[in-house]
């Protein structure tokens, strides 16, 4: 009896009709969604997808001397791969990526966990740390040009007290990239901290309380509760950070222009040089395609890896 009732409750109206109703509703809502999205889709199409297609086309269009079109092929890619500056830019970009992403995220997590309790002092400290985020990168770079000056700069002034002085941070090919990495960490850590703080709000305090009762120390709780539950947040920050590695360029242009001796030349600056200083749009388009493809696959790969074993709270 009870079983029969339950069956009736599950079956409800005849299944065919239900499916039909769902279909119509789905159709109507898809229609509505399409028209609601149409204006943005149109703009996206015009200003994002068309340029992407054009970049792809340009990458495979070959030009002879004087910019005359001479056919399609992979000649631009061949010239790109034969250019030592491209490989230098690629390896610089890898060093820059490794040097900025992990440290700035680690710093962001550390600061966020330290400042997560809403006390007045913490609120003040958070503001201080977020401050670099609101400054435009160009302004930051201009400031750092003075901070990093040998002899008179703020950094050198303090280092001199430790007996290290006269370092020409931006003028030495061995240190210039690291100076730029330092600036990027300073600029971005606060931004990522905001996301981590938001992520921390989503972790139920009961979990920590229960663990505390079980005798877990602060470090164990951080490792076993906070970090695993922050995974979705961290995955998101990781993607943002990687996009920043490829798209932020203002500081390089302001501080070094890619020098000395190409030591701070990263891909986007290389693309700019190829397109506008050397008038070689084919090679620039090929480099663009390569760097965007690398960025896309890295982002997808990192999201996939971090999603595995992710804990979502309901």
């Amino acid at each position: 009896m009870a079983q029969a009732l339950a069956d009736a409750a599950i079956v409800g109206p005849r299944p065919e009709r239900l499916i039909e109703a769902r279909r119509t509703r789905g159709f109507v809502s898809a229609h509505a969604a399409f028209w609601l999205l149409a204006p943005s889709l149109f703009l996206l199409f015009l200003f994002t997808y068309v340029p992407i297609l054009e970049a792809l086309m340009q990458a495979v269009s070959l030009e002879g001397f004087g910019g005359k079109f001479s056919g399609y092929g992979f000649g631009n890619f061949q010239r790109l791969f034969a250019d030592a500056s491209f490989w230098k830019a690629l390896s610089n970009n890898l060093v820059y990526g490794l040097g900025t992403v992990a440290p700035s995220i680690a710093l962001a997590v550390l600061i966020a966990v330290a400042l997560q309790d809403a006390t007045r002092l913490n609120a003040f400290l958070r503001t201080v740390i977020v401050f670099p985020v609101v400054l435009p990168l160009v302004a930051v770079a201009t400031l750092f040009a003075f901070v990093l000056m040998p002899g008179v700069g703020l950094l050198d002034y303090h280092l001199a007290k430790l007996g290290i002085s006269g370092t020409n941070w931006l003028g030495n090919p061995d240190t210039a990239l690291y100076a730029i990495i330092g600036l990027s960490i300073w600029k971005n850590a606060g931004y990522y901290m905001l996301f981590v703080l938001a992520g921390l709000q989503g972790i139920a305090p009961e979990l920590h309380e229960a663990a505390k009762l079980d005798g877990a120390g602060a470090f164990t709780r951080f490792l076993r509760i906070t970090l695993p539950l922050l995974k979705p947040t961290l995955a998101f920050i990781l993607v943002i950070a990687m996009i920043n590695v490829v798209t932020q360029i203002d500081h390089v242009i302001v501080l070094t222009g890619g020098g000395p001796s190409d030591s701070t030349n990263i891909l986007l600056n290389y693309i700019f040089q190829a397109a506008h200083q050397q008038g070689d749009s084919g090679r620039a388009a090929a480099a663009t395609v390569i760097s965007v493809a690398a960025l896309l696959s890295l982002s997808v790969a990192s999201l996939k890896t971090l999603e595995r074993g992710m804990h979502y709270e309901s």
């Binding site: 020409n168 030495n172 501080l255 222009g257």
Partner: protein, 438 residues
């Protein structure tokens, strides 16, 4: 790439549609300002004056950023079929514009007035002609120009027992003065004798100044396919700079960013720097202690390259717009306007007649540093311009930067720079000098 071009194009189109609907010929004028906002404003004032004096023409002046950005925007506008009628272009880009067939020659416009092109160019300082005339045609009309100068701290000279009225004339004097001016405390250098700017663009210009002073030509001024990086004149100049850093230690190691150099000069951490005449007013405003300027010292002869910008008429303009553009170009390079702009900016006036005007004579008398710049002009040479100039310039700059950091010897640097530059020049060489009858 395309995306950037699109943005530039949109900006250009906005600028173009901004003009009022009158019967007058409406033309656009793209101009860069390398220094600050005051200059852009002054340029707008000039154009407003021109529009008032020429009711049949309406010029819209569009500020287009730096020299490099103006190049990008002008090329984008030409490609889009909406070229400006006049653009103020870095003087050493004109060769490339001509190679790409993107500029009109001024010769027909000059001839239409019953003047010979030579006669027209005679009105300008001879050093400027090299960058204005390419393959026999006039493709640029000089508007604002500069040369490198030696700036030195008068107090530091006195303190080192040197006479500030007798700046170094030869490289030997220069080194000797630098050694006296360098002040060391233990293993720390509190004041360097010399600094040369190491930032891209100005580094290449500075190295060409030293090469010219060393008797060299630096590049083939008549054909854009040759550069002389591994010749004795260039290698000698590179070696001199390397010695200043590593042998005599009167100049700091590594690339010196231009702002760092300026700051060190203002702060007394360096006694002598090389900078453009265009920086005169900037340095005058920021330097608290007395300073003077002098010629770039010579090893073989006195010679410096010019810098600055010329007016061009991009291709793709109607006859009517070309005529209007020509009127604007003539007006902007008339002695009165040219002299006024020179006094306002610190650039020297390209038209010789400007210096015959009483207000200009008065100005030169009151500003001895402007006088030095003017006198050095007699020894000036064209600015190096080849096919793919910027990349060819960077080929040397990257190697000099490696040399300044002690990673390469001058000979190695010169050899690598030459090889890289030759590879960059190859397409043009193949299309011209090695394109032989078969």
């Amino acid at each position: 790439m395309r995306v950037m071009r699109r943005i530039a194009l949109a900006a250009a189109l906005t600028a173009m549609t901004a003009g009022a609907a009158t019967a007058a010929t409406r033309i656009d004028f793209f101009f860069p300002v390398p220094v600050d906002g005051a200059l852009a404003k002054e340029m707008q004032n000039l154009v407003a004056r021109f529009n008032q004096e020429n009711p049949d023409i309406e010029v819209t002046a569009a500020y287009t950023g730096t020299y490099d950005e103006t190049d990008i925007k002008t090329r984008a506008a030409i490609k889009a079929g909406k070229p400006p009628a006049v653009a103020l272009m870095s003087a050493n880009f004109i060769t490339q514009y001509h190679i790409d067939d993107l500029v009109e020659a001024f010769d027909p416009l000059v001839r239409a007035e019953g003047k010979a092109p030579e006669e027209f160019m005679d009105g300008f300082w001879p050093a400027l002609v090299g960058n204005a005339r390419v393959d026999g045609g006039i493709y640029g009309v000089p508007f604002q120009n500069s040369t490198p100068l030696l700036y030195y701290n008068v107090d530091a000279f006195k303190e080192a027992g040197l006479d500030p009225d007798r700046p170094p004339v030869t490289w030997a004097d220069w080194l000797e003065d630098a050694r006296k001016l360098t002040r060391r405390e233990g293993d720390k250098t509190t004041r360097y004798g010399i600094m040369l700017p190491g930032t891209y663009d100005i580094l290449g210009w500075t190295m060409s100044a030293l090469t010219l002073s060393n008797g060299g030509q630096y590049y083939n001024p008549d054909w854009g396919g040759e550069i002389y990086y591994d010749k004795p004149s260039t290698v000698g100049a590179l070696t001199f700079v390397d010695d200043l850093v590593h042998k005599f230690k009167v100049m700091p190691e590594g690339t010196i960013q231009t702002p760092a150099m300026n700051n060190a000069f203002f702060g007394g951490q360096v006694a002598m720097i090389v900078s453009s005449t265009g920086s005169l007013s900037f340095i005058r405003q920021n330097m608290k202690v007395p300073f003077k300027v002098a010629f770039i010292p010579r090893n073989v002869r006195n010679a410096v390259p010019i810098g600055g910008a010329s007016l061009i008429i991009p291709k793709g303009n109607s006859k009517e717009r070309q005529e209007a553009a020509w009127k604007l170009v003539k007006w902007l390079t008339s002695p009165t306007v040219s002299g006024g702009w020179s006094r306002f900016t610190g650039y020297f006036a390209p038209v010789k007649a400007a210096y015959e005007l009483p207000e200009m004579k008065d100005f030169i008398d009151k500003n001895p540093d402007a006088k030095v710049a003017l006198e050095q002009l007699a020894f000036a040479k064209p600015w190096f311009a080849t096919y793919n100039t910027v990349a060819v310039r960077k080929a040397l700059e990257d190697e000099v930067q490696a040399m300044l950091s002690g990673k390469k010897t001058p000979a190695e640097a010169a050899k690598a720079a030459q090889a890289n530059a030759d590879a960059l020049l190859k397409p043009y060489v193949d299309a011209t000098a090695l394109n032989l009858p078969k």
